[in-house]
Every structure is written in C-alpha cells, then in structure tokens.
C-alpha cells in the first residue's frame, strides 16, 4: 500500500505556506532585479533547448501533413489570386526600377548613404513557442554564442516579427509584435507621421494589431504602409510593420486609432532573420534638456 514516507516532516499546510512565501519572494526579486535571475533562466534554457530543437522538427512534420490535406479548391483559388497579384506586382516593379535608378542618381547628387539599406542578418529557426495561450513569444535556436543580443530586431518575409527579449548561449526569446505586451513606435512611409503600434490578444482571430496615438491632423489613412519609426529607442528605422486596415477618430478628437494588418503571417512562421545591428543608444547628454 502507498503511504506517506515523509510523514515525520512538515505537514502539507506548512509546506504550502512556505512555498507560497518563497514564490512571492521570487516574484518580488525577479521583478525588482531582473538581472539577478538571468543566469537561472540561462541554465534552464540550456537544459531544455536541445530536446526542443529535435522534437520540434517532428512537430513541424506533423503540422506539415495536416496542411497537406487542405482542399484543392482553396489552393486553386489562391493560385489564381496570386497570379493576378504577380501581374500587378510585375508592373509595379517596372515602375519602381525606374524610380530606383533615379533615386540612385539623386542620392549620389546629395551624397546620402542609403539609410535603410541592408542590415546584416542571421537566420534562425523557431524551436518552441510560449507554453500558455495568453502570449505570443517564441524561442529561436541562435543565442549569444552566435552573436545574438537582447533588443535585436527580428524580421521575416520582409516585415517586422518582433524583438529579442532574452538571450542564452544557444537560444533567444523573441516577443512577437502581435504579443499583448508589445509596443512599437511606427511611422507612415511617405509623410513620416508618427504613430504607436501595439499587440492585442483580442484581435487574435483577425491577426491584426492596434494602431493608436495618431495625431488627428496626421495624413495617415487606410491602406498606408507603416514602418518602424526613427524615434524608436529599440527598433531600427524603416522596417515594414504592415498596412493600415482601419482608422477612426478617438473620443477625445485629439488622436486617431485603428488596426494594422502585419505583413508577416505569424501562423506559418518557421525561420526568422535576426538583425545583428542594435539601435544605437543616445548619449546621456542628448537627453538632458537643461
């Protein structure tokens, strides 16, 4: 028969109380001194990382087979739509090519560096996702050993995916821009009107994210492309976030808010690129207005 072999030690109630106090202390310590718990997180990451990497290959294999059974009609429709899109894109590309050569000439005239050209990147595979259903975070299989550092920007399909929030030796944690706690400063491409882009769990089904703090006089309208702004302190400027799908005046009539459809499709994300340049921090003197 089963029986409690440690009946001589503390009773369950005392144990629970002690552990509760320990938890509260931990919450307080890790909230107050985030750096102190980083080594602990790193050790745990090293233990689970190799298994996650292996098993995840199996997992994506399974989801691959379920994708295989999506209906043929859906694929045909998609194909037709994509062909149409391709035609219009080809046309647009032609115009852009012309513009581009013109831009090159003008840049030479002004001797401007192409500010947003290509950032150095490093490809990484997503190995696991946040274990609960409330947040959108994932782990990638590259870490500080591969030159990844906290606050580096993560992109895929030509759009912003998120930011590195934690990095171990061989893994890094990324917070997606659709995460409920994500907050990115954005701007409209043409007029550089500043806005704010936030994730929200309530928009989970539409896949959109929130756009707010748009000045009521700003020229942002539906269909505009929003990129990361140059006033953001963690995000490099000029990375595409998405297109505005709706925009309405707020109750205060001082600002507008709406929704953005991100260019990245987060459901099918498997490989991402980490930009290995960090946004340079302003020197302290620059922030001192006295």
């Amino acid at each position: 028969m089963r029986r409690d072999r440690r009946s001589s030690s503390a009773t369950p109630k005392v144990l629970v109380l002690a552990l509760s106090v320990l938890c509260l202390v931990l919450i307080f310590v890790s909230y107050q001194f985030a750096d102190a718990v980083a080594p602990v997180k790193n050790v745990v990451g090293e233990i689970v990382f190799p298994m996650q990497k292996g098993i995840n290959l199996l997992g994506s294999g399974i989801s691959g087979t379920t994708d295989y059974f999506t209906s043929k009609q859906k694929l045909l429709d998609e194909n037709k739509k994509m062909k149409e899109e391709l035609d219009s894109l080809k046309y647009q590309n032609g115009i852009l090519q012309q513009d581009f050569s013109e831009l090159d000439n003008l840049r030479e005239l002004y001797s401007l560096d192409d500010a947003y050209s290509s950032y150095p990147t490093k490809a990484a595979r997503i190995i696991s996702r946040d274990s609960n259903n409330w947040y959108n975070q994932f782990t990638i299989d590259k870490g500080t050993g591969d030159g990844i550092a906290v606050n580096m920007n993560v992109i895929a399909n030509g759009g912003l995916v998120g930011i590195v929030t934690d990095a171990g030796k061989h893994w890094a944690k990324v917070r997606a821009i659709i995460d409920d706690k994500s907050n990115v400063s954005g701007m409209e491409v043409k007029n550089s009107d500043i806005c704010n882009v936030k994730g929200n769990l309530k928009l989970l089904d539409s896949g959109n994210i929130i756009l707010d703090m748009v000045d009521v006089d700003a020229a942002i309208k539906e269909g505009d492309t929003i990129v990361t702004s140059n006033i953001s302190d963690k995000f490099l400027p000029g990375i595409t976030i998405g297109t505005v799908t709706s925009l309405n005046n707020d109750d205060s009539n001082m600002t507008k808010s709406g929704e953005i459809k991100p260019v990245v499709s987060f459901d099918s994300l498997k490989v991402v690129l980490v930009i290995t340049t960090l946004k340079e921090e302003l020197p302290k003197e620059a922030l001192n207005y006295n």
């Binding site: 089963r2 509760s20 689970v48 997992g59 696991s128």
Partner: protein, 165 residues
C-alpha cells in the same frame, strides 16, 4: 529515488512536448496545458504531498523559460497541486471522470488567476472575451487530452511505485 527521477523526467518531457508538438497541434490558436494535467494527475493519484512539489517545479520551469517574473506560475500550479492532493480519495483512482472534472476545474482556476495577474492588472477588462476565446477552449482541449494522459500517468505511477518497494 526511481520515483523522484521518473517524476522529474515526466515534468521535463511534458514541458518539452507542450512547447513544441502541442504548439503545432493547436486548435483555434489554443493548445492544451500539459503541465497542468501532470500536476493534477499526480496530485490525485499519489496520497502524499508530491502534488505540491510537482506543481511548484512545473510552474517554475514555465516561469524560467517564458515568464516575465519568476514564481507566478509556480504559485498557481502549487496551489492547484495542494488542493487536489488534500481532497479525500475514498473512490477508485482509475475512474477517469473525477480527474477529468478536476483538470477542468483546475484549468479554470489557472485561466482565472492568469487573467487577473497578467491582464486585469494591465487594464484589460473584457473578461467575457478572454474567457470565451482563451480559457474555455483551453479547458475543453486540456480535458480531452487528459483522458489519454491520465491513463498513461496512472500506469507509469504504478510502475514507479512497484519498483520502489
């Protein structure tokens, strides 16, 4: 000792599976809470305080990898493990319905506490939306998975127990 290592391995495996395969198998963007099933099952099967420790360490693992602060998830799962382990078990533990109800109830408690600590405190007040879109689907999915998983854990626990004596 075997029991200790066996249990630790189960927690480790459950965490790995939850963050990889079950994320690929998510339905309606919701995936089951495997570590909660492990905590509830062991707390229910075993007649000692193992449930408290299993809940505590499962939660701590989750916090360390994905939590903003250490200890929140550990606290929630530990309380679940404690409550399940103190309810009287005069009936047969291989009956599947009681653990199913316990898993459902625990997942509701987990969803509720998580909502309060992580969302309500940040000013996200639309409780009905979060419950109908996240908490309820998670409960349904978790309870369905627990039917299979409980049986497996029950057999496994018998094995670990048998070798121990």
């Amino acid at each position: 000792m075997k029991r200790f290592i066996g249990t630790a391995l189960v927690i480790y495996l459950a965490f790995i599976l939850q963050t990889t395969i079950f994320q690929s198998l998510s339905l309606a963007d919701v995936s089951p809470n495997i570590l909660l099933i492990v905590t509830v099952s062991f707390a229910y099967i075993r007649e000692n305080r193992d449930g408290i420790w299993i809940g505590f360490f499962s939660g701590l693992l989750m916090d360390a990898m994905y939590g903003e602060v250490l200890g929140l998830y550990a606290l929630i799962l530990m309380i679940i493990g404690f409550v399940i382990s103190i309810i009287p078990k005069d009936y047969f533990t291989d009956n599947i319905f009681v653990p199913m109800i316990l898993v459902g109830g625990s997942d509701f408690f987990y969803g509720f506490s998580y909502f309060v600590f992580e969302f309500l405190l940040r000013g996200r007040t639309s409780m009905i939306f979060y419950f109908s879109r996240i908490v309820l689907p998670e409960i349904v999915y978790t309870v369905i998975v627990s039917i299979v998983l409980y049986k497996l854990l029950y057999i496994l626990d018998d094995r670990l127990e048998g070798k121990e004596v």
